[in-house]
Amino acid sequence: MAILNNTVVTVDAILTTKGRELLARNDGSFQITQFSLADDEVDYTLYNPNHPSGSTFYGEAIENMPVIQAFPNDTQIMRYKLITLPRGTARLPVISIGYNTITLKQGASLTITPQTLNYLGATSTFEANGYVATISDVRLISSFQGTGITTTAIGDQNLNTTTGAVLSKSVIGTSITLTATTVNTLYGSSLTTLSTTITVIGRDSGARITIPINIQKVSTT
């Protein structure tokens, strides 16, 4: 990763890890059909509506910032998507899953049902196309399933193919069920709690939330 030279207009694209995988699969799944926009590195607190030169300069600090080069990890880029909402929107959609932190004992299960607040005029709503949930370290979860959305492609994504080699996994649904691992070896000799994160993104609104998950050890055998 490096800083882009901002004297040159650069719009070369790179393939993501997922893109390379689908290209290698050669089954027609590498078909670019749609796009989305993001502003991951923009800090909007730099937006200055009190700029002495007027409204043209409110975004001056942001407009002149150097942009970081693209990186291929598809779970770490395009995090903050731009969205289309009616003009005059004062509150932006946010995801609520009812927890600030999830703590599970080994083997315990939990189902979360995300909601989107402030979306399309409703205080609270369930998005029609569901939610994408990504666990960043799938080794800590023995079962990770999304339910409530039925299409062939999404069904494939919801297949439980958890292996120790995979670091992250995404599922799609209106409800997400996860079961904490019962494997003790991950704790080593001294740990009593393992931590990871879950990220939930509204497939319609683009809103997202990331919260920590703690898995507490219950057995020493």
């Binding site: 882009l4 207009v9 993501t16 749609q34 989305s36 409110y58 880029i77 395009m78 909402l85 609104s205």
Partner: protein, 326 residues
């Protein structure tokens, strides 16, 4: 809504020719040459820097070939004639002519060239082919009078010649694809096969004033390839360009005035989702830095970054051309 679909006419595939300087760092001229102390009778690697340093890389190889295997030691002492120089000659004869019955000749088949030198450019350097008309090679056997400036004849001939399926240009005295004199245009010192990435020079005599004469002594190691290396090194000028065709797909990403004027960036809202600045309620602004390209399954296949944030609001539209190389 955070996705917008590409229309069928929003993407186009284009093949473009990219020309670069041949040598490391895309430089056009190589004036200093290095070899390693370890080399074989088959070839010697030529570097642009001291091969003991990490920045040195092989630019090209030099080989010597003899039709009967002279000038090198037999691979098996009991089988005379089957030596590296014969292997090299046969190898390139097969690549150029595709038959063992046609030998190298640089005068239209009148005389068989019993000996050849080969300059084989590293594949990493020539990419897809050598750019005709860019060859400038100076050979010098030691004194100012024994110096020759070689080029290919791509600018002196009106017809592209082929040997089999390979394009071929003759090596003549001149520069930048042009002959030094009109008579020089028909005096050939070798051939260049741009699509195979190598140059074959006549080692049988015509270049003798400019290269120390190759020794065709039988069954003994003569390291004749080093004689061409010495001549190239003394000439201090090897200019060449590479050429490759890059297929690119362009996506024209059209962003309408009413779209993408809000963001899910958490730095723009408070804990309840309220915009931090009231001015953004009726005059929202976003700053595009990244374009993500997806399939129908919402898999992120490719990403493009703008060189600076692009301001977007209800009064602006944008068209971003994104290039994806294969």
């Amino acid at each position: 809504m955070s996705f917008s679909r590409y229309a069928t006419d929003d993407s186009v595939i284009s093949a473009e020719t990219v020309v670069r300087g041949m040598w490391t760092g895309d430089t056009y001229t190589l004036s200093t040459f290095f070899t390693s102390s370890t080399y074989t009778e088959y070839y010697v690697d030529v570097y642009q820097g001291n091969p003991t340093t990490t920045t040195a890389s092989v630019q090209f190889d030099i080989q010597y070939g003899h039709i009967a295997g002279s000038g090198s030691v037999p691979i098996n002492p009991n089988v005379r004639g089957y030596s590296p120089s014969r292997v090299v000659y046969g190898q390139y004869r097969n690549l150029v002519y595709g038959t063992e019955t046609t030998n190298f000749s640089f005068d239209g088949g009148v005389t068989t060239a019993q000996q050849i030198y080969v300059i084989n450019i590293s594949r990493e350097r020539y990419k897809q082919s050598i750019q005709p008309g860019t060859l400038n090679l100076t050979l010098n056997s030691g004194s100012a009078t024994n110096k020759i400036y070689l080029t290919d004849d791509s600018n002196t001939t009106s017809l592209t010649r082929f040997l089999g399926e390979n394009r071929v240009f003759y090596i003549i005295s001149g520069s930048n694809g042009n002959a030094y004199t009109s008579s020089a245009a028909t005096t050939y010192y070798g051939i260049m096969l741009p699509d195979l990435g190598f140059i074959v020079l006549d080692a049988s005599g015509s270049l003798t004033p400019y290269i120390q004469a190759a020794s065709p002594a039988t069954n003994s190691r003569q390291d004749n390839h080093l004689k061409l290396y010495t001549s190239i090194s003394s000439g201090s000028n090897f200019q060449l360009q590479s050429q490759e065709v890059v297929s690119s797909r362009y996506f024209f990403t059209r962003i309408k005035n009413s779209e993408f004027n809000y963001t899910t960036n958490p730095s723009i809202i408070d804990d309840n989702g309220n915009l931090l600045f009231n001015t953004l309620i009726n005059s929202p602004q976003t700053f595009i830095t990244t374009v993500g390209m997806y399939n129908d399954n919402n898999d992120l296949l490719a990403v493009a970054k703008l060189s600076k944030p692009l301001t977007k609001d209800f009064t602006k539209e944008a068209l971003i051309r994104i290039k994806l190389d294969y």
